[in-house]
């Protein structure tokens, strides 16, 4: 039962959008933001800020894996063994 890559991306995109809308809704209620656009903007900013930190930390993780991982296999994979 293998699914197509398009189905996977579509499902990921829809579930991420629903999660984002849910977070905006929750933030608006929790922080008692009266202006909906302000709530949307600030929520997206908070998500972006957290996303940047996660990306930076993941980048460091990737960097350390490349330092201590199987270098020959990685170089082979990137260059095609040339």
């Amino acid at each position: 039962m293998k699914n197509s890559i398009i189905g996977f991306y579509a499902q990921s995109l829809i579930s991420s959008l629903i999660s984002m809308v849910y977070m905006i809704w929750a933030y608006k209620q929790f922080f008692e933001e009266e202006n909906t656009w302000s709530a949307i903007g600030k929520t997206l900013l908070a998500i972006l800020a957290a996303g940047v930190v996660i990306a930076v930390v993941s980048g460091f993780g990737g960097f350390f894996i490349s330092l201590f991982g199987d270098k020959a296999a990685l170089i082979n994979a990137v260059t095609g063994g040339k």
């Binding site: 499902q11 849910y22 809704w25 922080f31 800020a49 957290a50 996660i54 994979a77």
Partner: protein, 191 residues
């Protein structure tokens, strides 16, 4: 004479009080000798109490998420499921589902179909290992995200009304419930 007028000596903490329960430790004023059925009734009570909190939290997080968490932060906590337990329960279910069904649902070879077989052979074990590691530690990823979202949301939206811990509590509920929504959408990958 009722218990509310007698001075009760608590069997649990030795406190003296009036009423049906000890105000110090919550021990019942009257206790009868244990019989076989008590084992099952206690178990049933524990189970229904656990479910009642979970169902209440599920309902609140689906209908008024922000308001209910704000009330929780302000002290209205009795009916709620504990936020850390909520995360562990949903994170645990998510980890189990992703680990068991991922290979059936998504063929990673498609991602690397443009690569030559030799390159694919070199990189696939590493990628599969990384993806498996990510799913295996999914709850830890959620915990890390919660710390960050808690920090940034309080800084950006909090206006100094809330501290970091309160932001974390908000996201323990919100991100866990958001994960539950994602899980509910997961079966659509089968179609």
């Amino acid at each position: 004479m009722s218990h509310s007028h007698d001075l009760i000596h608590c069997k649990n903490c030795q406190n003296e009080y009036h009423g049906h329960y000890c105000p110090n430790c919550g021990q019942k004023a009257t206790t009868k000798r244990l019989v076989f059925n008590d084992i099952f009734s206690e178990l049933l009570n524990a189970f229904t109490y656990f479910n009642r909190g979970l169902l209440y939290t599920l309902k609140m997080m689906s209908t008024r998420p922000g308001h209910s968490v704000r009330e929780y932060v302000q002290g209205k906590r009795v009916n709620h499921f504990h936020p850390v337990n909520y995360l562990l329960l949903i994170g645990g279910v998510a980890t189990w589902i992703y680990l068991h069904y991922w290979d059936d649902l998504f063929n990673m070879d498609i991602m690397f179909q443009n690569m030559k077989t030799k390159e694919q052979k070199a990189i696939m074990p590493f990628v599969k290992k990384a993806v498996h590691f990510a799913f295996e530690n999914y709850t830890y990823q959620l915990m890390f995200s919660i710390l960050l979202y808690g920090f940034f949301s309080v800084k950006i939206l909090g206006k100094e009304r809330y501290n970091w811990v309160e932001g974390i509590v908000l996201h323990l509920f919100v991100l866990s419930h958001s994960e539950l929504i994602k899980l509910l959408l997961f079966p659509f990958l089968f179609f």
